[in-house]
Symmetry: C2
DNA sequence: AAGTGGTCTAGACCACTAC
DNA sequence: TAGTGGTCTAGACCACTTA
């Protein structure tokens, strides 16, 4: 992969966007790997025959999209969506006093089934497609708080097993990344109030008929490809769902 | 307001951030008004004695935060948070089929009271401070869906009256903007499940004990100044609360 | 000390909008 | 045509990390 950029830009597309696409192409081709540093800015600027300012503008956007991470003095790295910071971007349940904690997960159920109509719609699957469907019970500070019912397309998660899920050493989304090369980069959620049915009441240790939150999520990879559908059922007795507006601030 | 920037930067804070703060200060002081253009970049660069590139970096961030809007060839404008696009950034309730609609509002209650401890904490008010507290019932497509209990500091909303609220021609936040010069630029929300009490059941036309969402919001202006505290109680029988993650994409 | 990204400059030229 | 923001350059110097 030399890829000195197609040299010509008759399209009128800004140079920095062409550079951005070229960097994305190099990432998608596997030229640079998860967690590894990409070449320094000066080298990249030469490779693409642009000034360093233009190169930086391209990298700026890739960093804003959580695809690259820069560290002053060390280099620019391919982002890892693992435990530390990124976890709480997608995990939005905290104790009512604001304290964040990592959940403990117990796999309750696992099966391979044909996707029903709702799941096919959410995951953009064709009729007859299979999904892996599993249920996790999540605890925070020892309290059973969340039941996640999750469906992922078989075609993207070939040969996923119950054991892999149960024994994974890291978060679910970094497991997706490490084992299947699938990156979750955005989600879309809706929230409703429901009453606990017998099964969820049992899992969460509440009375049937207790009020619960039902959070429905579609998770997307690059190009808005849907890769996971989940229904999270939350007991908000001592916890709550948070929804920050990240645009503003000073 | 000359404000040529304090000239000295012993603090080691990057210049463009100092410029950003200075622009925010000019906005907060009312020097530039809603929907009006701010001075051109070249002028601002001279005023703050920085290069145009540095000035642009400051404006870049303010645009990313929806505080300014740039239009090539026309100028840079103070963002208007009014009806059209911005409304649905803060109004996050849609019908379960995804259809968005503007709510109709009925003012149910209005009073001036001393803030209790919770409200004082959320709005960063001192002991004994007064707030205006009012209750709105919101309908979507003719369905009564939301009860908003809202508190705003008297010190920021001097002489707010029941009649002003009832007769306002626009959304609540553009009313804040037009009548009091207060801009909502970010919010922080938490969500819990509750059961309808008698009063809310009556307003929403549900049985007492029906499951409802309780959304608690603090709305902020520039510099993270809290300007409104509200508890929204939602009936999610046919509607739902949405929470998009806007960071990703390519 | 060497190498990385972060900031900042002082322009040039282009694309778009208004008049 | 004049004025606006958008792109791009070719550096200089600073702050941080690693050895």
């Amino acid at each position: 992969m030399t890829s000195t950029l197609s040299q010509l830009s008759p399209s009128g597309i800004p140079l920095y966007q062409q550079v951005k696409r070229a960097v994305l192409a190099a990432l998608a081709s596997g030229e640079w790997v998860q967690g590894e540093a990409i070449p320094p800015e000066k080298l990249l600027a030469e490779r693409f025959s642009v000034s360093i300012g233009t190169l930086r503008k391209a990298i700026d956007e890739l960093e804003a999209e959580n695809i690259l991470v820069r560290h002053q003095g060390r280099g620019t790295f391919v982002a890892i969506h693992s435990r530390n910071q990124h976890f709480f971007r997608f995990f939005r349940v905290v104790r009512q006093d604001g304290k964040k904690a990592y959940p403990e997960t117990e796999l309750q159920r696992f099966r391979r089934v044909r996707a029903n109509e709702e799941v096919r719609a959410k995951l953009a699957l064709g009729k007859g497609a299979f999904v892996y469907e599993f249920v996790n019970l999540l605890s925070l500070n020892g309290d059973k708080v969340i039941v996640d019912t999750i469906a992922v397309p078989e075609v993207l998660f070939r040969d996923l097993t119950r054991e892999q899920l149960r024994d994974r050493p890291s978060t679910l989304y970094s497991f997706y990344q490490e084992m299947f090369g699938i990156n979750v980069i955005s989600t879309s959620e809706t929230v409703r109030a429901t009453l606990a049915d017998a099964e969820h009441a049992g899992w969460l240790g509440v009375a049937p008929g207790a009020p619960l939150l039902s959070v429905r999520r579609v998770a997307y990879s690059y190009n808005k490809l849907p890769i996971e559908w989940r229904i999270s059922t939350l007991h908000t007795g001592r916890y709550e769902y948070i929804s920050q507006d990240t645009s503003g601030g000073s």
